[in-house]
Amino acid sequence: MREIAYEDLVKSVKAMVMHTASHLPEDALKAIEEAYNNEESEVAKSVLKQILDNAHLASSEDRPLCQDTGLAVYFVKVGEDVKVVGGSIRDAINQATEEAYKDGYLRASTCECFDRHNLKDEVGYNLPAVIHFDIVEGDKIEIEYAAKGGGSENVSRATVLAPAQGKEGIKNFVKQVISDAGPNPCPPIIVGVGIGGTFEVAAKSSKHALFREAGTPNENPVLDEFEKELKKELNNLGIGAMGMGGTQTVLAVHIEKNPCHIASLPVSVNVQCHSSRHSHITL
């Protein structure tokens, strides 16, 4: 059984979280640059320019890209032959999150649902982190991380369609969600779509779909084709950067599909703003 020290895990995750707050990953940068080059609207182009300038400034001066530094969301794959010594993996990730948000001068955004008071003092600074665990073969721990802002999360939706609605029904649902969202999720956006599974599996898949590098093809050729078709039709909505009208609304559509019940067709759409702050490490 391979062993990883608790402190090492905290250190690695903390470094990743701090870095991600101010450094837009290469895939997002490239996608935004491409949108800037292709945009026809003057107003939208000036917005995309600001977004790119912001990204460069944030990384060179190590400032948070956005004031909404998000909830910390993790997908963690734990190998069956690896063990963390000195504490639990969950505690390590929460500790790393808290330290990174505090030391990085990031905003604590977790609050109680009803009275809305910030949980930073009683639960911890920006805690609890949202952690999805999976157990896999091997002796590694793989951690995917994203700082997920509220604006794009607020417009995300899930439903269960009738099987007969098929691909056309899925397409109409995705289009409706993005059309209703308009300027609110800070376009240009990445659209994560989870299809199939059960209700919660679809939702989780739509979130996980956002972790794929923008610009990489879907491994499934049918889905790849569907992604391209959706991207084109969503861009036809004309929403544009920050909703000011334009041809470049969607940077990428990412789909994950799961087998589902013969009676249902769950679909979930999770939206990611242009500030697509994600990263991953393997230990």
Partner: protein, 185 residues
């Protein structure tokens, strides 16, 4: 699309020349407030009490910044989604507020108030918090420090970049812009 450099407080004349899609650079003082602070301001008005700042000609920025690093006036400070302020903005506008800065759609009541009392809604670029913070030279909490990032701050700004979304004539850039680039199948 025209470009203007304006200094607060804004007059009826200042806002009347603006059209949806114009780019504006704001100078001098603006105030920050999100939902919780808006609620308190409206409560003060309802009870006939004095507000923590002069609403006449004022511009309110919807923002909850990150904590400032030592020696800096403010952390990253981009706009938050504006619809949460929709139920409060018309009341503040009817009492003299001239400008709002945020991101995202406003409801009919806000657009009506902009027309009736001459006020504008500006959009700032969401997610450009580091860049926008450069235009903020000073920041001072003037009310409700217990609200943390949601406290009311008085900001000194220089060439703060915004775009007119809703003007005093009932135009909405979100609708105009989208209609222009929508491809009907």
């Amino acid at each position: 699309m025209a470009e203007y450099h304006l200094t607060t407080p804004l007059s009826d004349e200042d806002v009347s020349k603006l059209k949806a899609g114009d780019i504006v650079y704001l100078n001098s003082t603006i105030y920050t407030a999100r939902d919780a602070a808006h609620k308190r301001l409206v409560d003060l008005i309802d009870n006939g009490k004095e507000l923590p700042f002069d609403l006449q000609g004022s511009v309110i920025y919807f923002v909850g910044p990150t904590p400032p690093k030592p020696g800096e006036p403010i952390g990253s400070a981009g706009p938050t989604t504006s619809y949460r302020m929709d139920s409060y903005s018309p009341i503040l506008i009817s009492h003299g507020q001239k400008g709002m800065i945020g991101k995202g759609k406003r409801n009919e009541a806000v657009k009506e108030a902009c027309k009736k009392y001459k006020a504008v809604y500006f959009g700032a670029t969401g997610g450009a918090g580091a860049l926008i913070a450069k235009a903020i030279k000073e920041a001072e909490v003037i009310a409700y420090p217990e609200l943390g990032p949601e406290a009311i701050r008085k900001l000194k700004v220089e060439e703060f970049p915004v775009t007119v979304i809703n003007d005093t004539y009932g135009n909405d850039l979100y609708e105009i812009g989208r209609a222009k680039y929508e491809v009907k199948e």
